[in-house]
Symmetry: C2
Subunit: 420 residues, 2 copies
């Protein structure tokens, strides 16, 4: 059975000049994949009639369903609605249900309903309206020669709401596709080539309908198995069988058998052990704390943290000795260790992680450590281990690297895999 | 003068199944824009020869320069290099400079150099090698009929390094394009339609070569003016003239005349006033602290913060009265205010911001406040003002909304625009 093919067209100059990063497409693709619909192409074009029309023409020759996001707002730069209206030989008419909804939203927000807002309630008479529970611009479904075009606003949470309440249930009912199964295995500490060499025989023995992809990023490589087939039950069993082979071969470096974040991996470990952690962050400025609390239920194991951006905070709150700061600098092994033990006392957790460093490329006045130097320490009260890292990119990337490495350090320490 | 047109093709199944969000395209687009090169289309395709070839065919009929990222790794799922080699009638040969570089990288990382890594040093003999200072896969430049195809690895920092050291300097020298000028004005507190109505006459008086775009997001609307023309000096003056008109008309709601983040807006205000802030975050879990420290030089005005994820931390560290937590709950006006004054004492800053709330959709056991309720307080020691907000989305979006609203609250308070 051939799978249903979908294209995603995103519209907006902000996507082409790099002002906005497109997160909608990834979200849509994930949801469609779960229904067995293949996204085979994504295209981004500007707010320009000819480019939109061309993209639509091309998409309709190849895809069964075309998703369009963006260009549906009430302002002059949004041209998608009249364009689609012409494209599908319709005329714009006021939709009473949408009009009432728009008026309700304005009333709720205490905003005057302006004449130009009437436009928000206009839809082509050749489309099926897809209700937008989160905003004023409705989604639209057009059908032609057995193909569908689904247009939605570009504001992420409005698009998501329309997809979840109207589009996905409709597709689930109408589309019968081959199942697609993905399974991801996460490894740490080894590179892509090393892993490829180690699993060479497994990879070449994979059947035709199962693909293996390597997704490397800082400190980790994800191995994704993807299988397509008619029977989801046997497909799941089959992919599991191959994942087992990979995991057995790579057991020393596998940290998860699912595509989850490192903060989730750490969270699961702590819940399993029923233990708690706390943080003392300097250069990462609360970023690790933010990541940990992205995980629902983090309050079961994360007690809290201090962001000690100034030296006086390190001294007063974390009880770092002033003499050590003077003698070794704020970015040093001695200070990192005292921050870790200070945080442990302050929060009364089982483990602590501390980070102090210079993330910028420029030297910091009065600091002996070179730019890019980061000291981290982990402690359980009995033992305190510190490690030094060097990061060579810009502030933001160094922050991300330091956060990942910090969580990895803590994970190794809790697993007894870290030695002083 | 017609501008140079560029297409971006990103390759990788991970982009189509939604496992990875494409940040490369936005970065490339920004850099090209600064050189006066228009990105007119972005296309994402999977690791599949036919799809890549089709995308390339289509791109070469319309674009002057085609950027390709991804698919250049050492593993079996990366098929772009041999494909480009065939497409441009070349054969793969070992490049000695690249080979030495790859070997150096393996030596530096203490990794064995494997036979399959030889492949990393192979390049089509019809391309110009673009050196990759950050990794093993080199970039490649192909030229045909006056058009360029530039292929780079998909790992963001490798792509960026190749662009900055090899591609951009080359383009700057070779491409003579019309200048493009963008100017963004940031407003807070009013919606897109309201603003459009207020500046209707200005917008319709804009000359043909200047476009206005509305970019709404939580609490803010950005107005972006874009102009194209031969003379960058007169273009800049012209856009500035129209921005002045917008700013004068909208003066009550304009917070910045540049496309900067809210944390930068706050940072500039504080540097100007030579004042400092500190934080006590509960539900936002360090996210506001992370945002503030994304700004270089934040240590000039940000003293530090406490992430008080557990009630005991609120009591011990921030001196919130246990009776208030018992009587009103941890998410309450009384607790928010005491967190703000507690943080102010702890860090000795001029202003503090505190946040306590429930970001999840489910009720929290033992907590009277409804899901989505967030209390925030700001204090300068003399006056402490608290406000309640309700957020109705998922945990992550609510966190972002709360962070933006918190910074906005602090900004208003410092500007004397917030009353109890």
């Amino acid at each position: 059975m051939a799978n249903t093919k979908a294209y995603i067209i995103t519209i907006g100059d902000e996507l082409l000049i790099g002002q906005t990063i497109d997160t909608n497409s990834a979200w849509i693709a994930q949801k469609l994949n779960a229904l067995g619909i293949d996204v085979t192409k994504r295209v981004a074009v500007g707010d320009e009639a000819q480019a939109i029309t061309h993209a639509l023409d091309a998409a309709l020759t190849e895809a069964d369903i075309v998703f369009i996001t963006g260009g549906l707002g009430p302002t002059a730069d949004d041209i998608t609605k009249p364009l689609l209206c012409r494209y599908f030989d319709g005329k714009l008419v006021i939709n009473e249900a949408v009009l009432q909804h728009v008026k309700d939203i304005f009333a709720k927000r205490n905003r005057p309903f302006l004449e130009r807002n009437m436009k928000q309630a206009e839809v082509p008479d050749t489309c099926t309206v897809l209700f937008n529970p989160m905003g004023t611009a409705p989604g639209m479904l057009f059908e032609k020669d057995g193909r569908m075009v689904i247009a939605m606003p570009g504001v992420p949470f409005e698009m998501m709401a329309i997809m979840e309440t109207a589009v996905l249930p409709m597709l689930q009912e109408r589309i019968k596709s081959d199942a697609i199964v993905h399974k991801t295995t996460i490894t740490v500490g080894e590179g892509e080539s090393f892993i490829a060499e180690k699993i060479l025989d497994i990879e070449s023995a994979l059947p035709e309908h199962i693909k293996l992809a390597y997704l490397p990023s800082l400190g980790t490589v994800k191995l994704r198995l993807t299988a397509k087939g008619a029977n989801i039950t046997s497909l799941n069993a089959e992919v599991l069988h191959w994942q087992d082979k990979l995991v057995t071969r790579l057991q020393d470096i596998v940290v998860a058998r699912e595509d989850i974040s490192f903060e989730e991996i750490l969270g699961r470990l702590l819940r399993e052990k029923q233990q708690t952690i706390c943080l003392a962050e300097s250069c990462t400025g609360g970023y690790i704390s933010h990541l940990l609390t992205q995980v629902s239920g983090a309050s079961n194991y994360y007690k809290g943290g201090v962001v000690s951006y100034l030296i006086e905070v390190k001294e007063n709150l974390l009880q770092v000795a002033e003499t050590d700061i003077v003698n070794h600098g704020a970015v040093s092994e001695a200070v990192a260790k005292q921050m870790a033990t200070g945080a442990l006392k302050l929060f009364g957790a089982d483990y602590s992680l501390s980070i102090t460093g210079i993330l910028d490329k420029e030297p910091v006045k009065g600091e002996v450590a070179a730019p890019g130097t980061v000291w981290m320490a982990v402690s359980d009260g009995k033992q305190t281990v510190a490690k030094m890292f060097r990061f060579f990119h810009d502030r933001q990337r160094n922050k991300e690297s330091a956060a990942t490495m910090g969580m990895l350090l803590l994970w190794k320490f809790i697993n007894g895999k870290l030695t002083a």
